[in-house]
């Protein structure tokens, strides 16, 4: 068990490409941290730097009270679960789990005891003599987990461990991994590109974009107060709606590009008049209202059972503005709603549910 | 070229490469450079003096009628071996690709000649065509009235080594043709059949063109084989004779170097052979690179 401290870590490849632009992150003992972001954002690179599989070109990585920058992966006291599991195909399940312990010179009886214990936890008891190719995807995943936990390391590192599983199994394994981590209380860093996986598993998550940590926080913090357009759009499904607009001259209203006028949160400080902004509003925060400021024409309806999703064009209820149609908007209503295509609704949003971002930088205001 | 994940070690990679590099240096690169070096030297008749003669050895070589004749013989030999072996193997592969019953048995019965040494292959056919007791020579005489004698008749001798060399190569060509045929998508053939093409027409318009990468590859391999791997076939049987009728380039370089002890001339011949191998290897690699794109 240990804390993990990442300070000002950078990665520049020999060809000059800068993959990580100085990241700071403190992981508490036993915490489950998820690195999430689109492919190419540097999340796997950061994880591999923690593992020691990539060199660190700037900053320091500390596991427990040791700076590990120059240590071999084997000496960092970490265990890693790979996307394709990386099980040794010619070894049995038992040998796969025991290999790391054998290399560290553990006595036979202790290896036996640890492997049996891990097999018990992971329900692999009957499978110890099998080869990886004789196992199902979920079982292989468990063996990969088992290989990590027999080591009883300071930290687990997960590199998209569920992306090779089918949807149903993915949900099931997600729960299992989380429960296991709770039970063992081992500090974990988990990489995924799937924001639902990230939201459901993380104690805190790090949203990464182009080598930069956009925001670090608990899932709810990120959902409620995204620090940028990128985070707002990345977290939450269906994605947040974004509309272009401008602060009205009174500083208490927003003028959308399509001419609609929305009230700003009352408790917020008055915004600088005439500032160009991007307004974000989640689909579930748009509600039908006869006299709402937005006019919404339904183009497509998706019935999900618990929810109904409406897709369509939003424009100003009063007309006018600069004539912009406004853009595509998603609305999420709970329950069933039999709405025909072409139905026109009025929409409104609570001022408190509006997210304001600077139009140029995309940062939250 | 290299794995993304590599190990770091100061001396281990060199230690791992040392055996292969040492053998390569001592037995390949050094002798080859010596051949280059000798090829511009000339030794006098008593082996006492060595003079630098630049390209004289090469000039002499290419004005020497026996060398030019050997060149012709080698080309004729190689082309005949490749043609004979490839066409025989292609027919068998096409048939084997058609049949379902017994396909494995046919394959087994056709691949074993690969394992026979070129020299032994030569001896086998030498016996079959032996003018006194060979069964083939007897058939030719008794049924066709042809008096086969490879010890006196140059054409017979050439035919003998062509047959022996081609026979051994059939297995190899057969296996590659069969693999090539089986790689052609069934749906293409079926589409052609639905379009009303007869089996023969299908072969010439669909199968053969699609097989052309394999064919080209095999042509190169067969020519390399006929050039360089048939020394045993010739040495164990005709020994270049009669009257130089089967004196191929490789046989000649051996003969002039070891029997004739002509240092400079033999080295110059070696260099010419090297140029040929390098050309063929480059052609082959070019082709393989191209194939990767497919």
């Amino acid at each position: 068990m240990a804390e993990l401290q990442i300070s000002a870590v950078e990665k520049v490849y020999p060809n000059g490409f800068k993959a990580i632009h100085g990241i700071d992150l403190e992981v508490a003992d036993g915490e489950f941290i998820v690195l999430v972001g689109p492919s190419g954002c540097g999340k796997s690179t950061l994880l591999r730097m923690i593992a020691g599989l990539e060199t660190v070109t700037g900053g320091t990585i500390r596991i427990g009270d040791r700076i590990v920058n120059e240590l071999e992966p084997a000496d960092r006291d970490i265990a890693m679960v790979f996307q394709n599991y990386a099980l040794y195909p010619h070894m049995s399940v038992y040998q796969n789990m025991a290999y790391g312990l054998r290399n560290r010179g553990f006595p036979k009886d202790q290896i036996e005891q640890r492997v049996q214990k891990a097999a018990g936890i992971l329900q692999l008891d009957g499978l110890l003599d099998r080869r990886p190719r004789q196992l199902s995807g979920g079982q292989r995943q468990r063996v990969a987990m088992g290989r990590a936990i027999v080591r009883e390391p300071s930290a687990f590192l997960f590199d998209e461990p569920l992306s090779n599983l089918d949807a149903k199994l993915r949900v099931q394994m997600r729960v299992e991994i989380k429960q296991l981590q709770r039970r063992l209380g081992t500090t974990s860093v988990y990489v995924t590109h799937d924001q639902i996986e990230a939201m459901t598993m993380a104690d805190r998550l790090v949203v990464m974009n182009a080598g930069v940590a956009e925001q670090i926080g608990t899932p709810i913090e990120l959902y409620d107060r995204p620090s940028s357009v990128f985070v707002g759009g990345f977290i939450g499904s269906p994605a947040m709606n974004f509309l272009a607009g401008q602060v009205d001259t009174d500083g208490r209203h927003l003028l959308l590009g399509n001419g609609a006028r929305l009230a700003l949160p009352a408790d917020g400080a008055p915004a600088e008049p005439n500032r160009l902004v991007t307004i974000g509003v989640r689909p579930e925060h748009l509600a039908p209202a006869e006299d709402g400021p937005l006019r919404f024409e339904v183009e497509l309806v998706e019935h999900l059972g618990a929810d109904t999703l409406l897709y369509g064009e939003a424009s100003a209820a009063t007309g006018g503005g600069n004539g912009d149609k406004g853009g595509l908007v998603t609305v999420r209503l709970s329950g069933h709603h039999a709405l025909a295509m072409g139905t026109v609704l009025g929409l409104t949003a609570e001022p408190a549910q509006l997210h304001l971002f600077d139009a140029a930088t995309g940062r939250r205001l | 070229m290299i794995k993304r994940v590599t190990f770091k070690h100061k001396w281990l990679p060199y230690a791992l490469l040392a055996p292969q590099l040492l053998i390569t240096l001592v037995f390949f690169i050094w002798p080859a450079s010596q051949a280059l070096y000798y090829s511009v030297l000339q030794q006098d008749a008593f082996g006492l003096r060595v003079d630098f003669v630049a390209f004289d050895n090469f000039a002499y070589l290419f004005s020497d009628p026996t060398y030019l004749e050997s060149f012709e013989i080698t080309i004729m030999f190689s082309v005949s071996v490749a043609l004979m072996s490839l066409s025989f193997a292609l027919i068998l592969a096409v048939m084997a690709d058609r049949v379902i019953k017994g396909a494995t048995a046919y394959k087994t019965l056709l691949i074993w000649p690969y394992a026979v040494a070129p020299a032994i292959a030569g001896v086998l056919w030498y016996f079959l065509f032996n003018p006194a007791v060979g069964i083939n020579a007897w058939i030719l005489r008794a049924w066709f009235g042809y008096d086969w004698n490879h010890t006196l008749n140059g054409t017979d001798a050439m035919l003998l080594i062509v047959i022996a060399a081609a026979w051994k190569q059939i297995s190899y060509n057969f296996l590659f043709f069969l693999a090539g045929l089986q790689a052609i998508p069934r749906s293409l053939i079926e589409a052609a059949a639905i379009d009303g093409a007869s089996p023969l027409k299908r072969f010439w318009t669909i199968v053969f063109p699609l097989l052309s990468p394999t064919t080209f590859f095999l042509v190169v391999v067969n020519i390399v084989y006929a050039f360089f791997d048939t020394f045993g076939t010739i040495h164990a049987t005709t020994r270049g004779g009669p009257y130089g009728a089967t004196n191929t380039l490789v046989y000649k370089v051996f003969n002039d170097g070891f029997i004739g002890l002509d240092l400079g001339g033999s080295a110059a011949q070696s260099v010419v052979l090297m140029v040929i191998v390098i050309t063929l290897t480059v052609v082959q690699f070019r082709y393989i690179e191209r194939r990767v794109e497919y």
Partner: protein
């Protein structure tokens, strides 16, 4: 089959059987001839069915050989062939494996130079460098002494404090001379390199995290994964080694080192008299037996090896 044309199927079988007949004819005649007494094979047409002299022929050839030619029993020649084939196959596999491992799994100065030096051996078969290679075998220190001479140092020995190394070591008429020059092979190195490139990188990373260094990784992970490739290559290289002809011809003059493939030519090329065909064919049968048995017995590995070495 695309459509049902029974006559075409019959024709296919007919052509195949005919082809096998042509291909197998030399084998048949050889084996049949090896079962006859010498006088049966003096007049044409020779018998096409087995005779009853088989045991005598094989006993004589295996036990004492053909007296008037070399007088070496075939058991000895076959033993030499076996030593040569095994040494070449095992030696090539061993040094190619570690060389390919170094080239694929390490980043080090001169890596590409080493790669090209190995690559170039593809272009230098024995046949094109006969004489100079022979010189090296006659004294393996030839390259070293010539280089020393070039640097102005005379003599054929290195004197170090305490020891003197005599730079004169002939490999003529030795197993080392028979096999060493044939052991370096770009083909095998390329095959292993090709295979190593397909081994997932994650396995290496997992092994590193599991505390395995390069040699442990090689022994515990890479080697077991290469088993089929090694076996397939072994089949091809065994045949290659067993069938060597020119090289043994050059470096062996001592009958004790004659291999069977090379030994047969002296039985055929006898001066002025007709060869003893029954005994020659006995020898030919014995010379073919091991490699043919391997090709047929290990057909699957053989085909795999053949296809992959040509990639």
């Amino acid at each position: 089959m695309v459509e049902n044309r029974p006559w075409l199927t019959v024709f296919s079988h007919f052509v195949l059987i005919l082809g096998i007949g042509v291909v197998a004819l030399p084998l048949w005649v050889t084996v049949v001839a090896s079962t006859h007494a010498g006088e049966d094979l003096l007049t044409s047409p020779i018998p096409m069915w087995f005779g009853d002299n088989m045991v005598d022929n094989y006993r004589q050839m295996l036990g004492s050989g053909m007296q008037h030619v070399s007088g070496q029993p075939l058991t000895l020649m076959m033993f030499n062939s076996l030593v040569m084939a095994l040494s070449i196959a095992i030696g090539k596999i061993a040094i190619s494996l570690i060389a390919a491992f170094a080239i694929c799994y390490f980043q080090f100065p001169l890596r590409m130079t080493c790669f090209w030096m190995i690559f170039i051996t593809l272009m230098l078969p024995v046949e094109v460098r006969i004489l100079p290679t022979y010189e090296v075998i006659a004294n393996v220190f030839t390259p070293l002494t010539k280089l020393l001479n070039l640097l102005g140092m005379e003599g054929t020995e290195i004197v170090l404090p305490g020891i003197t190394i005599d730079l004169d070591l002939s490999m003529l008429d030795s197993y080392a001379g028979l096999t060493l020059p044939l052991i370096a092979s770009a083909t095998a190195t390329f095959l292993f390199r090709q295979f190593f490139l397909t081994v997932p990188d994650e396995l290496t990373e997992a092994a590193r995290i599991d505390g395995a260094g390069p040699l442990k990784f090689f022994r515990d992970i890479l080697l077991p994964l290469s088993r089929t490739n090694i076996a397939a290559l072994f089949v091809i290289l065994f045949i290659y080694g067993w069938n060597q002809y020119l090289w043994p011809l050059l470096v062996t003059t001592d009958p004790a080192y004659v291999t069977i493939v090379m030994g047969i030519q002296s039985m055929v090329n006898v001066a002025d008299i007709e060869p003893q065909w029954n005994l020659v064919m006995t020898a030919a049968t014995l010379a073919m037996l091991p490699p043919v048995a391997i090709v047929i017995g290990m057909q699957r590995l053989f085909v795999k090896g053949l296809v992959e070495t040509e990639k």
